[in-house]
Symmetry: C2
């Protein structure tokens, strides 16, 4: 009767369960590590990483799009990071609304110290769990899902 059945079949369900579980544990563990190692939140880490990678100075909205966040999230995040001295905001002379986000020396230092440690955890917890072939396969699958998501509404 129903063109699309109500539940997933067991193999599909198993794949979904494994993926969800893995993803939660892995991300959770990396988040706790970055916190413990560097006194930064994962969000701090990403923002500083992308920002310094781009030269340490970027327009607010460009940064927001780069990390694919909502602007409100970035606004709060930058405010908090500014309070902690990791970044600083500057006005944009060309556009009266605009703002620059600039990594402070403390911010640069923080990310330079944190990055290798973080990479080491990614390697230890994720990369070393899999062969290069499996990594490639996972990348391919991830890209497929990503591409599929863009074809789907909402």
């Amino acid at each position: 009767m129903n063109a699309t059945p109500r539940w997933l079949d067991p193999e599909q369900q198993a794949a979904w369960d494994s993926f969800i579980r893995m993803q939660e544990k892995l991300i959770g563990r990396l988040a706790r590590r970055v916190q413990a190692d560097s006194r930064m939140s994962p969000s701090d880490y990403i923002v500083l990483a992308k920002l310094t990678e781009a030269g340490g100075r970027m327009r607010f909205m460009d940064l927001t799009k780069l990390v694919e966040w909502e602007k409100s999230r970035m606004s709060h995040q930058v405010a908090r990071m500014a309070k902690r001295g990791l970044v600083r905001k500057e006005d944009c002379p060309d556009d009266g609304r605009g703002a620059f986000v600039v990594a402070t020396p403390a911010g640069r230092e923080a990310i330079e110290e944190a990055a290798p440690v973080h990479v080491e955890h990614v390697r230890r917890l994720f990369v070393e769990a899999l062969t290069q072939e499996e990594l490639d396969t996972l990348a391919r699958i991830s890209d497929r899902v990503l591409a599929h998501l863009e074809t789907q509404p909402d």
Copy 2:
């Protein structure tokens, strides 16, 4: 010099990036959908799902372990859900410290309405992006990472 190099090589990095991006977008989208469709948070959904699946009445700590959460998180969550009438707490006669978590009729109704919709989104956004073979592969890879995580400290 360095036994383990400082950075990931490009293929490893690409796999990690794709995975992270996919996982964020997919999870984020499903979270927004469950919110919009059912007025429940993803956490509400999981708790109610596992609870009713187990008969609708469970010891607090059993539920906590079942969903693999920290007890503090579950405590807050159950308190919020109780406030919204999805769930109710009862004392345990056998153990003076213990508590039962019980799904209310409203809670049962909420999950029964939300579940098929949610499954449909999982199917649409995830399952249908991949072949059954790819799903199996992803499950295998996920299980490998999970197994690896358990061998690693912290």
